[in-house]
């Protein structure tokens, strides 16, 4: 590997890491901070990708279209979906055992997959990259780098920054973190924890859906796509330390590096390298890289 190729691979690793963070960030909120084991996270991601595909013509007819208009409509729908799901299902889960959370969120995966099959079908779809971001930059003599991938990285950085600031620097973030530690105490201090959690949950779903919508043009849209990201999302949250945004970011970048260079340098073991890394990190730090206090 010459130096130029090495630099391009570093860019690939960074970009993939940021994409992973984007996909896992909704889980950081729901699993990491609220403490609900949410296996349906992958489904929210899938719903997002399918929204990017299915909503586009509808938005086009109603508002004149555009990728960003679709994004906005999708986000609004996602917040509503998250709010409704919390009200109907998840609000009963906070006090329950983890196994029951696993059972119910697994059930949701099956329901969402079937609904997807009934509503949109089982075909593979593509989503066009919005025109202003459709170009690509030359990189070396043969390669070009799609601008849209850089856009994804930018979205991810913005999101990470916003989440970090809200959670660790604002009063709202303080209430959310306090609620995660001791629900009853927060309630007795006069904070409407039920409503607060409903909103946080809705935000978590919205972020997962946003990730799906933003990733759709590069990942394509296909049945079962949610399950393929679910495991790596949990790996990101667990390595990073439950509830830590900084940790999740670092973990995502580490996975990006290990995965990218693993594929190139150790292709026989590429499938397991990420999990080997997870095992080593957890042996060294059982709580993950940054455990939120």
């Amino acid at each position: 590997m010459d130096f130029a190729t090495f630099l391009i691979q570093c860019l690939n690793a960074l970009q993939y890491g940021l994409l992973l963070f984007l996909v896992a960030s909704g889980l950081t909120l729901i699993f990491g901070i609220m403490g609900v084991i949410n296996l349906a996270h992958g489904s929210f991601y899938m719903i997002g990708a399918y929204m990017a595909y299915a909503l586009a013509p509808i938005v086009e007819a109603a508002f004149g279209g555009g990728f960003f208009a679709t994004l906005l409509v999708g986000l609004v729908l996602a917040v509503l979906l998250g709010y409704a799901l919390e009200w109907a299902f998840f609000s009963y889960l906070y006090e329950r055992e983890h196994l029951q959370q696993v059972l119910m969120t697994y059930g949701l995966i099956l329901v969402f997959e079937e609904l997807r099959s009934l509503l949109v079908g089982d075909d593979v779809h593509g989503v066009a990259v919005p025109e202003i971001l459709a170009g690509s930059l030359p990189l070396g003599e043969l390669l070009t780098y799609p601008v849209y991938r850089l856009f994804i990285s930018a979205v991810c950085l913005l999101l990470a920054l916003a989440m970090y600031v809200v959670l660790s620097r604002t009063r709202l973030g303080m209430m959310i973190r306090a609620g995660a530690n001791n629900r009853e105490m927060v309630q007795s201090l006069g904070i409407d924890i039920k409503f607060l959690y409903r909103v946080v949950f809705a935000a978590g779903v919205a972020i997962a859906v946003l990730a799906g919508m933003v990733a759709a043009p590069v990942s394509s849209v296909y049945p079962g796509m949610g399950n393929s990201v679910l495991i790596v999302c949990f790996v990101v949250v667990v390595i990073g330390g439950i509830g830590s945004i900084r940790g999740a970011m670092l973990a995502a970048l580490l996975i990006g590096i290990v995965d990218t260079f693993g594929k190139v340098l150790l292709p026989q073991a590429a499938g397991v390298l990420v999990y080997v890394m997870m095992a080593l990190i957890l042996l060294w730090k059982p709580d993950g890289l940054f455990r939120a206090a």
């Binding site: 993939y16 593979v124 390669l143 049945p223 079962g224 594929k263």
Partner: protein, 389 residues
């Protein structure tokens, strides 16, 4: 009196019950167990196969070899873990005479194992695992589709004929990918080329950026790939987005551009793939089939529908030869072995290991269709390595 009459009725009823199977057996229907995916990623493929199969049976007036056909369906979910249970259900509980399935190679291998052990007839209408007509081959196992080796080998011949010298292959690290790439390498190196690097991504990972960078650094004359479904869409788009499409021709097994063209859009235009079927063969046989299919199901048929249709043809040939008596096993097998199947893809016979000996077409994507360019490899037979019958 009442008691007596009651007893009489009971006796009569039980007599009738006892006599029934004998009478029933004479004109019993042939039970065909369709084990296909009805849910999951391959659901659409399963439906096309079932439609194709039933279309042929309907064309024959609902009878093959003079016997009516009864269908029992099981959704195999493309799940190898449940495969053995599902096949056993069909064979032992439902007592099917013939098994038809499936799409997923891992599930098909489990079906082949049970078929081999129990002697139940099996026709595989898609799964391309070389082993089905290799080490797993048996007198009662047939395939109406292809082996993974076939399209790969044909493309290797094409690449060598075009004068390419170096190639990089890229696929998922799983059996189908390895077999397809193996076929390509065999023919390409026989023709004077050399595969300089075989890249693989863990299945079903679709993050290709690192390997595309590798390809750009190696700069081969040509890239050969085996991907299907969502992975095929993403690979074709990423390949184009990385600027490689203009620089290095991308060749693939037909599944790269089958059922995925709508999603791949302009990025797939001009791509060359090899397969045993194409969208516009233009033969009268194919046109008649396509018309009948569209009439029956209100949608265009694809390669999977053809494979289902031909599976039914093979069963029909066997049943006709033995006049509907499935116990005449040797005759049934012999009839299919020497038959020429009049497939929409073109006539074909079976190899000694029961895989189609068929023309593999070179196709090029134009206007969201896989158009035939030429016959890439005429009457290509899978070597059937490891088959002892």
């Amino acid at each position: 009196m009442t008691t007596f009459r009651c007893a009489l009725v009971t006796v009569a009823a039980s007599l009738a019950w006892a006599a029934a199977p004998a009478a029933w057996a004479q004109q019993a229907k042939v039970k065909v167990g369709l084990m296909l995916p009805a849910t999951g990623t391959f659901a659409a493929l399963g439906t096309a196969i079932e439609n194709g199969f039933k279309l042929y049976v309907a064309e024959q007036g609902g009878k093959l070899g003079g016997r009516e056909i009864d269908f029992v369906s099981v959704d195999d979910e493309s799940n190898p873990a449940k495969a053995t249970d599902n096949v056993n259900k069909l064979v032992k509980r439902d007592n099917v005479d013939v098994l038809v399935g499936t799409v997923h190679s891992g599930v098909a291998m489990a079906m082949a194992k049970v078929a081999k052990d129990t002697g139940t007839w099996l026709i595989v209408p898609n799964a391309g695992a070389d082993a089905v007509t290799g080490p797993m081959c048996a007198p009662n196992i047939f395939r109406s589709s292809f082996s993974n080796w076939q399209p790969g080998y044909a493309m290797g011949e094409v690449a060598a004929r075009k004068g390419h010298k170096t190639a990089v292959t890229i696929t998922w690290k799983y059996a189908a990918g390895d077999e397809s790439v193996g076929g390509f390498k065999e023919a390409f190196e026989k023709g004077g080329g050399s595969v300089v690097k075989a890249l693989a991504v863990p299945f079903p990972n679709v993050e290709f950026q690192a390997l595309l960078t590798e390809i750009a650094a190696i700069k081969p004359d040509v890239v050969y790939t085996f991907f299907a479904g969502g992975g095929a869409v993403k690979f074709v788009k990423d390949y184009a987005a990385a600027g490689l499409k203009q620089a290095i021709p991308l060749y693939g097994a037909g599944f790269l551009t089958d059922g995925t063209l709508e999603a791949q859009g302009a990025d797939a235009e001009g791509l060359m793939t090899t397969l045993h079927y194409a969208d516009s063969l233009g033969t009268p046989r194919d046109q008649a089939f396509r018309l009948a299919y569209v009439r029956a199901y209100k949608q265009q048929p694809d390669v999977y529908a053809v494979q289902g249709y031909d599976a039914a043809q093979m069963l029909g040939i066997g049943l006709t030869a033995v006049k509907g008596d499935l116990n005449r096993k040797a005759e049934f097998t012999a009839a299919i072995r020497k038959a020429t199947i009049d497939s929409p893809r073109g006539r074909f016979k079976l190899s000694a290991s029961h895989n189609p000996v068929q023309d593999i077409y070179l196709r090029q994507v134009a206007n969201k269709e896989n158009k035939v360019v030429e016959v890439a490899s005429k009457a290509l037979a899978d070597p059937g390595r490891g088959c002892r019958m």
